[in-house]
Symmetry: C2
Subunit: 491 residues, 2 copies
């Protein structure tokens, strides 16, 4: 038996009762809104087959997955063991793994398991399928402040419809969740993958989109000058860079979609009909004819954004000041094909707390094409930090005992037992201190456990039937009969 000091795996955390209470407050707030909008809970296993996960997150993702060592390797017979040895040699040489040694891994996100679920259950599911999922995921990233190896994702997705109503409802849900959490100063940044495509064409960039957006992404940090310099170095012309900043001047104003359209059209000139699509830049799983159809059906996403605006207006959305068109918003995930979202709390130094977008072919990775969907994800760890920083956690976020009954001898303990029972029968969370210790220790227990009321039972109380109820926050004491206490603390 090891008696060494126990420790936690790097990058993982215990959540104390206090923290669980606060986290559940966030989860419950999000769930309530998801359910009001018709999303239903789904749960998938922590482990997935590696064949399901591999290749879905890029090479880095494959390496950062936590793989499960197969069980019973020592029980294999000799010829099998030789094969195992060959497989082991491979694992030592390359970043990939082999099914003989590991065939399962911990899930890396909730989106791929969701796609797997949809494909496996496509005959039982009623489409459009609206599900939410709140579960931990695991990544072997280098841990750092705010980045953990085990963290919860909190996703809602609807698949099986292309309606922009879904995008509008995502905006409404973000607005409602954050408002209910007490966060009021935030910006929902919106862009469309086709607007990015249009921008690319407008700039007739010779390099790749990646260079362009890597540079734009640093605008906040290195300013217009820095971005210009970087782009010129990468081979963009001065004319292109000027055109870029001309277009970017429309950034932030969701109302200026029409203006943006004109500006980009002008820049693109006559080339639209002749749009060139680089095969290497096609979204995962989508083939050329499909993307051409999409781009031409919905040139540069303007129609989608206008439809989104229509839905928001008719749904009585009042907070347009909270949404902003952000032409530079790219979001990393290659499977997005339509509107994309990202949410930033203003005046708080924490990255985006929510993000999502539309994907036209998520289930294509498992052989089920043409199931369009749109999803949103809330980053609970960051929301937690925001609520802490802005002191927005309500007291009710703490799961806590309401009353501690103290006693000092056998007689008072016996006297307390039916009272304990009465309070609990009235749904008041109550504890009787289980041992006979000094009153001070019992009070400290109440104090440290944040219990708001202490009921003191001493010999005088037993004689009169009037018990001393102490409010631990104000220090006030009242002498009350049990029925009066029940009335006072009724829940």
């Amino acid at each position: 038996m090891s008696k060494e000091k126990p420790s936690l795996p790097t990058g993982t955390r215990d959540f104390s009762p206090e923290t669980v209470g606060k986290r559940n407050y966030i989860f419950n707030t999000i769930k309530r809104t998801f359910e009001k909008f018709g999303f239903q809970p789904l749960e998938t296993p922590a482990m997935e087959n590696l064949s399901v996960l591999t290749g879905k997150y890029g090479e880095e993702g494959d390496q950062l997955m936590f793989k499960i060592l197969n069980n019973g390797l020592h029980e294999k017979k000799e010829p099998e063991k030789e094969k195992l040895q060959e497989n082991w040699n491979k694992i030592l040489q390359q970043p990939f793994s082999t099914p003989a040694i590991t065939e399962r891994a911990l899930r890396y996100d909730l989106t791929v398991p969701f796609a797997r679920f949809v494909v496996m259950n496509r005959n039982e599911i009623t489409f459009p399928f609206k599900r939410y999922q709140i579960q931990p995921v695991w990544r072997a990233d280098r841990p750092q402040k705010g980045r953990y190896r085990e963290f919860y994702q909190c996703d809602a997705d609807v698949v099986g419809t292309k309606s922009l109503l879904c995008e509008a409802e995502i905006v409404l849900m973000i607005d409602e969740v954050l408002t209910n959490l007490g966060i009021t100063d935030f910006t929902i940044k919106i862009n469309h993958r086709n607007i990015l495509g249009g921008l690319y064409q407008a700039l007739r960039a010779q390099g790749t989109e990646t260079d362009l957006f890597a540079a734009i992404d640093k605008l906040d940090k290195i300013g217009r000058e820095g971005v210009s310099k970087e782009l010129l170095e990468k081979g963009f012309t001065i004319e292109m860079v000027e055109r870029l900043f001309d277009i970017l001047s429309l950034n932030g104003t969701f109302d200026k979609i029409d203006e943006l359209k004109i500006k980009v059209d002008e820049a693109i000139g006559e080339i639209r009909e002749d749009v060139e699509l680089d095969e290497n830049r096609l979204p995962i799983g989508e083939d050329r004819p499909n993307i051409l159809k999409r781009v031409f059906r919905n040139p540069y996403g303007y129609d989608d954004l206008k439809r989104l605006k229509f839905y928001l207006e008719n749904l009585g959305f009042k907070n347009f000041r909270r949404i902003a068109l952000d032409i530079t918003l790219a979001r990393g995930l290659s499977y997005y094909t339509g509107c994309i979202f990202e949410v930033k709390v203003n005046n708080v130094k924490i990255g985006s707390i929510s993000g999502g977008g539309r994907y036209d072919n998520l289930t294509g990775m498992f052989g089920l094409p043409n199931v369009s969907g749109v999803g949103i994800s809330f980053g609970v760890d960051r929301i937690y930090d925001v609520l802490e920083e802005l002191k927005l956690f309500p007291e009710s976020a703490q799961t806590s005992t309401q009353v501690l009954i103290t006693h000092f001898d056998n007689q008072s303990e016996k006297y307390a037992l039916p009272i304990l029972q009465q309070l609990r029968a009235a749904n008041i969370a109550t504890e009787l201190y289980p041992d006979q210790v000094k009153l001070g220790k019992q009070m400290t227990y109440a104090d440290q456990k944040n219990i708001p009321y202490v009921l003191l039972i001493g010999s005088e109380e037993i004689t009169t039937g009037k018990l001393k109820l102490k409010n631990m926050r104000t220090g006030e004491q009242e002498n009350l009969r049990v029925d009066e206490i029940l009335k006072k603390l009724a829940v």
Copy 2:
């Protein structure tokens, strides 16, 4: 990109929205009771260091743990790779693992992580520490009906007190949880490890306790005759076997504790002062002087059981018919040292749905001795099966949209949008079908998603302002104004 048919790892499950709803109904019922009794939620990571887990569950447990392959093995330099190879050879030869290749595993239960948490945070924790924990655990068992490789445990433990009040509260919690779930015909079997010890002495068994209890455990299956035969074969005398069944005749009646004491005392005769303790049978982590003290302080557990009865009576517990002294109840876990519990639903062919007991030295495994505690665990999968079999899930266990709004063209969709918003503002979970499809398809959606109301919007409805609200269960239709609908469906 793999396009093969995706699958789930053996022994794991997806939980559909319907199932999640029902499972959450069970979890929430349990949580409510735990919290009312002063237990607070704790969460620990899915992964633990192998040094924490190894050796805590016996050899079988070590083999059934899911171990995580260390990341970045291929990046090691040559001399390190040689060492890896040596470690790999070990893994191929023996059932154990090496930290060079795997240093973490998925948690195997919630008790050891809890003990680890208590030891790591002993200076911050206020004792007695009452925590509950509802999280999945993983075991590489051979999957079979009702046994999964990923399943939830649902534990409540209090550590840092020896008070029998805690045992009494465990009985009350079991009774309350099951009653609230609608289960009324069940038995809470109670025994005490020291009663088992006394029984062993009373029988002057020459073999080990294991033989004795393995035989008794089969009483239900092979009857008195079968058990007798097995014991005689193992070397027990006829006199011992008769004495055994004489003592077992007191089984089931919690009231007969005194009688049991007399019978066992009689059988033991004069040997009590000279009690022999087999070193191999000492509870994990407890040393000889401790166990001697415990046994003599509390001979054979009678005092504990009588104290438990005192607490139950004074807490107004009415359901003594639901508790039974079961002298044969052993429970496998070697760390139990006091009262033990197991709950069986009567007339349902499903194993025990809850179990637990007192352990005097759980944190001793991590070098923190003398922290007595007692815990209970609910088996959610089995409770689920019981509720299904007895048809006890209430309709409210389903998370569902309350109203689906249907439409048939652009005009009715636009008309529907503010109504959708009004219903949601009144906290009524509502959906608008997102696409323009035939009414039949929209109705099927409502039907399959178990949505109780459909609000039909057609041209007539738009003209009159009276909308058709259809109750999907009864088929009734009413023409109502929006304010009337809000009143009718108010939550």
